[in-house]
């Protein structure tokens, strides 16, 4: 086993998770300035939404282009309830999650009847309808004017979430929870049902999986993630307008997902952080940065279609299989019983969707 392999194994261990969490906890202390903490916190918020997208698109295989719309629904629910109706932040926050789930259910029931590209473009239109409603329904949403003075999450007198660093930790907590739940789902029987649907509707149905129920569940989960992220976002930026529902955000999220590795567990986080920091560092190019970013995107999907994490996992999966093969051959030649299960590291199979 060479060094590269050892390192790659290390990436899969619980110790690695611990290191990542510790690094995240320490980040505000090592960050050069508050701006970096702010960007990181914002990236965490986006990452939550991207994890949602990963459930419907990565696991279940349905490209949902209304995702940004549900992000906006979360943000607007929070903003309207707190600003116009005086709800306390956390109540409104829960309501945002619930409204994301309910509206997701409605949209899911209608749009999931369509398949493949039809579903994708139909949801693109659903997203646009959400945008139009936010923009036009002035009585409810303040229309094009947007909503100002959204309160920050209340810290119950203990912490002040208008400060960047406390908010960073808040976002971190929500993100870790999101990843944790996403991992749970992905590695459970539920996640397996979703993946079966991704392979083929016909196959999944013949395995006794109720297509509509599972797809709607995945869709609702994803919209809930999106609207929770949106609500956090509203509490962070504290001003929102219809632009929040622009498809551009959906495209951004797909990019994050793809760069990190669609359908993998750490891909969404990796992709979101990588692209967020990349765009920040390309700021010096100002309006010309898309001239760099556009082709970069193209190159990426051509040469690393599985994203960074996906490429890593496939490579590692192959290697593990090869290792087992040799182990088996050796043991066979030594005429020992096959150490089949002993060799299989527990996280091997988790790794494939991890």
């Amino acid at each position: 086993m060479n060094a590269l392999q050892k390192i790659s194994d290390f990436f899969m261990t619980p110790a690695m998770k611990l290191i990542m969490i510790v690094a995240a906890l320490l980040f505000p202390f090592v960050a050069g300035n508050e701006y970096q903490i702010y960007v990181m916190a914002l990236a965490f918020v986006w990452a939550i939404a991207v994890y949602g997208m990963n459930i419907i698109t990565g696991l279940c295989g349905q490209l949902n282009l209304a995702h940004g719309g549900f992000f906006a629904i979360g943000a607007y629910t929070l903003a309207i309830l707190t600003v116009d109706h005086g709800w306390p932040f956390w109540w409104a926050f829960v309501a945002a999650g619930v409204s994301g789930a309910l509206l997701g259910f409605l949209a899911g029931v209608v749009s999931l009847r369509l398949k493949e590209h039809y579903f994708a473009i139909f949801t693109l239109c659903v997203g646009f309808i959400i945008y139009l409603l936010i923009d036009k329904w002035e009585e409810l949403t303040h229309g094009a004017l947007g909503i100002i003075n959204i309160p920050a999450p209340s810290g119950f007198g203990l912490v002040d979430f208008t400060e960047t660093t406390p908010f960073y930790y808040l976002a971190l907590v929500f993100m870790v929870l999101s990843i944790w739940l996403a991992a749970r789902i992905a590695n459970s029987l539920l996640g397996r049902s979703f993946r079966a649907i991704r392979i083929s509707d016909e196959l999944a149905a013949s395995l006794g999986i109720n297509l509509m129920r599972n797809k709607v569940l995945a869709f609702v989960l994803s919209t809930t993630y999106a609207s929770v992220a949106g609500a956090l976002y509203a509490g962070m930026v504290r001003f929102i307008g219809p632009a929040e529902a622009d498809v551009v955000h959906t495209f951004d999220m797909i990019t994050f997902l793809l760069v990190g590795g669609i359908g993998t567990l750490m891909g969404p986080l990796f992709g979101t952080l990588a692209i967020t920091w990349l765009t920040q560092s390309l700021q010096f190019l100002e309006e010309y940065r898309m001239i760099v970013f556009g082709p970069l995107l193209v190159v990426l999907v051509i040469f690393f279609p599985r994203g960074v994490v996906g490429t890593f996992l496939t490579w590692r999966g192959r290697r593990l299989a090869a290792v087992q093969e040799t182990a088996k051959k050796e043991s066979a030649s030594e005429k020992k019983p096959q150490p089949n299960k002993a060799v299989t590291p527990r996280n091997q199979e988790a790794g494939n969707h991890a």
Partner: protein, 365 residues
């Protein structure tokens, strides 16, 4: 020499890029001017301006990120932003992080909510309501149809305009705003409002699409006049539709090039020289003025870092600002941070001649 960093966050790409770039251009022009003269003096120290501009694509959240960056990483005491959304997003933390927001928007709410470190650069649009109404009624009649744009700024305008019009005895016969930036075609919308036979059409968005709306209204047989929201500049419109003939009976604002005042003339001449005879936009002129004002205020306050002191010195800065740096002749800033001016408004008379009047003249004050 030392440098002082001035920040900018605005749309430099995407649909609003032109607008953002125009505002930035004004800032750059002023900064260049000052730096070329070897900087400016505060106390004993000479400073040069380092203008750092970041793109936010008109997105408030990106404006907030940029704001954080400009403050934390570049230590900018002053940040310019040319949109209300960006202003609101910056206002979430500008007092805590201690920087001055220089907001180029005429939306009144940016200074009405009591933020102490915000300056609104242009006058609010509410000043135009009465004179526009008065002139339009006199030239054309009392029935107005609303066919302006749908973005936030246009909405604010409509909200202020309709009550004024009605209070002065007019009626609104049709209300059908249209998305000027996204619509493929205005024929449908325009024919809808014209079906109600208005005397006056209230239009306005960016100059170019506004010109198209006016043109299509004429093509569909509209004979009355237009009230043109201040975002559109008649001069720029006239380039699209070939002169002022089509705008007969209209009231609106004109570009700086038509101003008679010396400050305006000086600025226009300077700009022409630097840009091969291209006309300066309002955005360029106001932001040029604003940058000079900020620097003047720093001089008055004796500090380049203390944003509160700089804000406090704004009033004095305006008084002592050189005329050539103040093309619009702004003289005062109100307690909440709004600049006050008495801009020219223009009426297009029969035959396409343009008549200029100060707001105060129209209202007879």
């Amino acid at each position: 020499a030392e440098t002082v960093t001035i920040g900018f966050t605005g749309p430099l790409s995407g649909g609003a890029a032109l607008y953002g770039q125009n505002t930035l251009e004004g800032l750059q022009m002023a900064a260049r001017e000052i730096n070329n003269k070897g900087g400016f003096k505060v106390g004993d120290e000479t400073y040069e301006i380092n203008l750092v501009s970041l793109d936010d694509k008109y997105a408030p959240s990106q404006a907030a990120v940029n704001g954080k960056r400009l403050v934390q990483q570049y230590n900018a005491p002053v940040i310019f932003t040319p949109h209300s959304g960006g202003t609101f997003a910056l206002q979430a933390f500008n007092q805590r992080d201690d920087f001055l927001v220089m907001s180029y928007t005429s939306v009144p709410t940016v200074t009405e909510k009591g933020n102490e470190l915000t300056v609104r650069i242009p006058p609010t649009f509410t000043g135009y309501m009465k004179p526009f109404t008065k002139i339009a009624m006199a030239e054309n009649g009392k029935k107005v149809a609303i066919a302006n744009a749908t973005h936030d700024y246009a909405k604010y305008w409509t909200k202020a305009f309709v009550p004024t019009w009605e209070a002065m005895g007019g009626t609104v016969v049709a209300d059908n705003p249209m998305d000027y930036n996204k619509s493929a075609d205005f024929y449908t919308g325009v024919s809808k409002v014209l079906a109600e036979k208005p005397d006056v059409l209230f239009i306005g968005g960016a100059s170019e699409p506004t010109a198209l709306v006016a043109k299509q209204a004429r093509q569909l047989g509209f004979k009355g006049g237009f009230v043109i929201m201040d975002q559109a500049k008649m001069g720029e419109m006239s380039k699209i539709i070939g002169g002022y003939k089509m705008l007969e009976g209209s009231v609106g604002v004109v570009p700086l090039t038509m101003y008679e005042e010396q400050g305006a003339k000086d600025f226009v001449a300077k700009y022409h020289k630097q840009n091969d005879g291209k006309d300066p936009t309002t955005e360029v002129a106001y932001n040029y003025f604003a940058m000079h004002t900020v620097i003047q205020a720093m001089k008055e306050a004796g500090t380049v870092a203390d944003s509160k002191a700089i804000r406090a010195a704004m009033g004095d800065a305006l008084k002592n600002l050189a005329e050539e740096h103040n093309p619009y002749g702004v003289t005062e800033i109100d307690a909440k941070g709004g600049m006050m001016a008495d801009p020219n408004i223009a009426t297009v008379k029969k035959g396409g001649t343009v008549e200029l009047q100060r707001i105060s003249e129209v209202l007879g004050e």
